[in-house]
Symmetry: D2
Subunit: 345 residues, 4 copies
């Protein structure tokens, strides 16, 4: 029985980790931290968990924290993670960090998009935890940087074409749409029901911090540095991300060729599902699951291929993928505890 700790259990990502890990055999949640709910059952804040999850929130820190588990999921905001993770690693623990702090290999890029980094010495060691791309490295990692929600959909959506150098990376446009849970559980006017319902808007156009993360991984797959245009939007729904990606083909591929490319690339990846020809992914068909659904349209009229990828931002885009990484790191079956069928309707 592996002892796992969840640092920051009372946010949407934290509670999703609690929900999923409670369904995993071979794993026991031995500590879950939350300053806000210190001393109270997590099920008090989230009555959905009652009767199934009896975690007590605690405000444990530093050395005491490290003692309490073998592996930690850190689900705290960026900048906070870099203060906690090094201590856990030094205590010999493994860490799956769900913040942005260890995703970028280049500290200068991190600091250009975020703030100064106080633990840059771990950047080279951290493995970018997208199992479909970096499974081998994840196996051996002690620090996994769990990918951002948007990048997960985008990188999985583009990887086969990039690897094949089938598209021109200079013309990559990524137009993404996310449910509101991506904004977290903090009480902000912008996330109020009445501000969001029956509405649709863009935010951080060309400036979202997930951009360098996508560029890093897209660049690695393609073999050259890449700059993309990325626009995130807010959808009046709780869960789900759909990314629409526009690329120009460099090679004369038919729709069948492209389809085969994707099938081959993902042939051993349970969680990637290629849509039937003529159909496109929809977030409602991955809700609550760890699936990433991918579809595409070869538009001969414009010479473009349009790729669409859908995930549940809290599962494949966060907690589910983190558990997938855990499974890989500990040699469990990769799908253990995260095989849930999407909840539709």
């Amino acid at each position: 029985m592996i002892r796992v700790g969840i640092v920051g259990v009372s946010g949407y990502t934290g509670v999703e980790l609690a929900r999923i890990l409670s369904m995993c055999p071979g794993v026991e949640i031995t500590v879950a931290t939350s300053r806000q709910y210190d001393g109270r059952p997590l099920a008090e804040a989230f009555p959905s968990l009652r009767g199934k999850v009896d975690i007590l929130c605690e405000d444990v820190q530093d050395a005491k924290l490290a003692e309490r588990a073998d592996v930690f999921f850190t689900a705290v905001p960026h900048q906070a993670a870099m203060g906690i993770v090094p201590q856990l690693l030094k205590a010999g623990k493994k860490v799956i960090d769900l913040s942005a702090d260890f995703r970028l290999h280049d500290v200068d890029i991190y600091e250009a998009w975020y703030k100064p980094h106080t633990a840059p010495e771990y950047l080279s060691e951290a493995v970018y935890g997208l199992p479909e791309i970096h499974r081998q490295q994840i196996k051996a990692a002690r620090l996994v940087a769990n990918p951002g929600c948007y990048p997960t959909s985008v990188i999985l959506g583009l990887a086969p074409l990039l690897k094949e150098k089938a598209i021109n990376p200079l013309n990559l446009i990524v137009d993404s749409k996310s449910g509101v849970s991506g904004a977290g559980r903090t009480a902000k006017t912008n996330s109020l029901f009445c501000e969001v319902a029956e509405g649709f808007t863009a935010y951080m156009v060309g400036e979202h911090r997930h951009t360098p993360e996508m560029e890093q991984e897209i660049g690695k797959l393609y073999g050259e540095p890449v700059t993309i245009s990325f626009t995130p939007h807010l959808v009046p729904m709780s869960r789900g991300i759909l990314s629409t990606m526009y690329a120009r083909l460099k090679k004369p591929l038919s729709a069948e060729d492209i389809r085969e490319l994707y099938c081959n690339f993902y042939q051993d990846d349970f969680f990637v599902r290629l849509c039937e020809p003529g159909t496109y992914p929809a977030t409602q068909f991955v809700r609550g699951s760890n699936f990433c659904d991918i579809g595409f349209k070869l538009d001969n009229r414009t010479g473009r291929v349009i790729i669409l990828a859908a995930i549940d931002n809290l599962v494949k885009g966060a907690a589910g993928q983190a558990v997938q990484n855990l499974n890989i790191m500990y040699g469990f079956p990769e799908t253990q505890g995260i095989e849930t069928i999407p909840l539709f309707p």
Copy 2:
């Protein structure tokens, strides 16, 4: 391995059965019928199931149908069920019927609220499949009439007070609110997104067909015939029912007394969760699960007790409860396959 059949797999209840049964050990779906999707994979109509559920829809009927499984879930409209169920029973099969056709013991009441009944000889044999109330009879049943969604929430919400004769059944008011999936997957103007979203309304006021079903079970629990006022409403959400019930106390009970009454009554029932004092059930905290959450308020100012009960109408209100019945009928652990933690947010 028990062979199960789903008759009417392409409605919301049918597909929910497929989803849940696919996660049940000891069970194999050997036939699933749908006229509309005959010959096509169920996952074509519901891409959420892709990669996990590879059921083929078939239009199988009569004798051929009975051969294909040991136990059948009939998820077809009322009036249709009474044409299918007798044949399955005659062929020696067990049936869990999710329609209204075998829920009422009294054929006259059925015919007053519905239409003429063509198989009334089975009414006395059918067991009303609410496990928390009729667990023993369900064990031995070959025909289980799975309760309606509204009645499930109402009967579970009132049972402890009724059994104790603690409330006056003459003053029972039931005000229920349901998500839109209760209206089924048929294309109707009334169920269109634009008609329902950002709106709230009542329907079938005082005339809903679930009324006699509630009155039958409430009357049995109380020991006398009971007449109730029942008003269903439509909530702009997909899943969930919340029922608010108003009753006058006949006995001088404190809030603690009532609490104890509920705790005792449901002490062996995993799926009933009593809310913490001062908190009330919410449909978002049972979504996707087989739980029924119950809370109450003793209002000394008015001498009334207000009871609130929340379920997921497609799970505890339909498919989940049907599987719970299956588990009881076959001696499986009662929670097998339906232990899912609610999906929140």
Copy 3:
């Protein structure tokens, strides 16, 4: 041209006042206060207003405030209103107060449900601003207490039956459902999109502060003190209230009798619409308008009449009704500026 002031313009009620008053002829908004947005255009906080409403938010107080307009709408929380209103009245201004501070005639009842009252000397003078019931007094008032959103729907729904003493007031059950804008624009976890969407729950069961307000007006209409059970619920939509009311008939009335009673009672009231027989009100059919739609069901089986009333909580339940009061106070056509047709879909 009447100069009007809005005190507390940046909440949902305040901005709705700004929207509606901007469409009123004969009226000019000369001051609008907001601490939060002091010095900034209201359209910066609410871009919906751009190009049509060029109000500047100011933090004006005390004597300076009174000078700036002839009549004031105070749209601040209860307890805050009682600090502002007396000063405005003393300066010779008229006030339409949208808080709860001047709605209850009896200071003891106010203090039992709210907190100590610091200006009880104005309670006897304040007119309860429900035009369909108190039009004559409103004409002459200098202080109008604009009704609460729930009470507006409930009192209008029950008035004709109460006035006729046709129902037994001892058995009144009021089950109300409101959109989320009723909770205001304050950033609270409970009002976040993800907490509310796809969910339904009750709150303040038997304890909501609108209860004494309903009891006061219901009692006046019936001619005797009345105690009711009131349960508010939260609907995943922005605007709208539907109240479902259960009463026992004291007189043998037919559905036609009841219909006639309502038609007569509201024959001169443009904003009350009686639903066609067999149909019920729906919040989506009053959205954005000052209408109150009323329907009912005479249930001979139970001897009850179930009355349903729908309003837009921000319009007839707040800002629209306040403008209706202004029109009456100043001799404008009562419908001026608030004749908008509901926005559906």
Copy 4:
């Protein structure tokens, strides 16, 4: 008083025309056709209209139809419009057609994207009814082809940059998102609440029929034929379109330059609102209004300008724009009857 007819009044566009025209002075609706509701009041199908709109639906055709009004709004599906419009024109009436039948000047393009055209002789005469671009021609037109909802947002969003030849039209990507009312009021499974809510998906990727309409107008503005990539998506909301457009600059323009360009281009256009720098349009801020809100981001990192435009698809994207065209054709103030402030929240 101008007599106006609405052909096809019972769809979402038709009823929106009824709602808006009822608020227009100088205009009287003298005939409104609907096969489905023949002989019944429109307010029976749409109770929102009760008390304000007393139109009777009729099934009037051919010569009889033409006699009944001076100007007609045809809100019927494409292919149906081309059968009705010629008769009305021959009878000397003016027509504002809300279908796609007369929007494309080139019959070959129409027939490539739609079906054979039976009245191509009117294509050269029809004026594309986007007032901000073709105001002068609309003044003199007897047949106005009211633009599609998506094209309205896209053309208005791009026009200033195209006219200035500031962007390279070869790299135009248009990613649009629409509320569900765009799919009409027909009962289809795809438009059911449960299929759409809490979900987001794309449809008709690279194949939507609004594409040639955009290309025609974009080409005219730029002065050369243009091919674009267009992907429409479905948002779980009733009203609203947001289009996100990606273009490469051909000229070295600063953000201030671009801003000035838009300000100048739209200086006489009441309905186009340019967002404040750093803010972006949101559909919730134009809901129920005829505004088109436009914002942009100059992304120096990628050399792209990203333009965002939001409209209410039923107002500026259909009925409101049609009334704007009517106002222009008849010399009314252009904003008459459509000055409504957006309804937020």
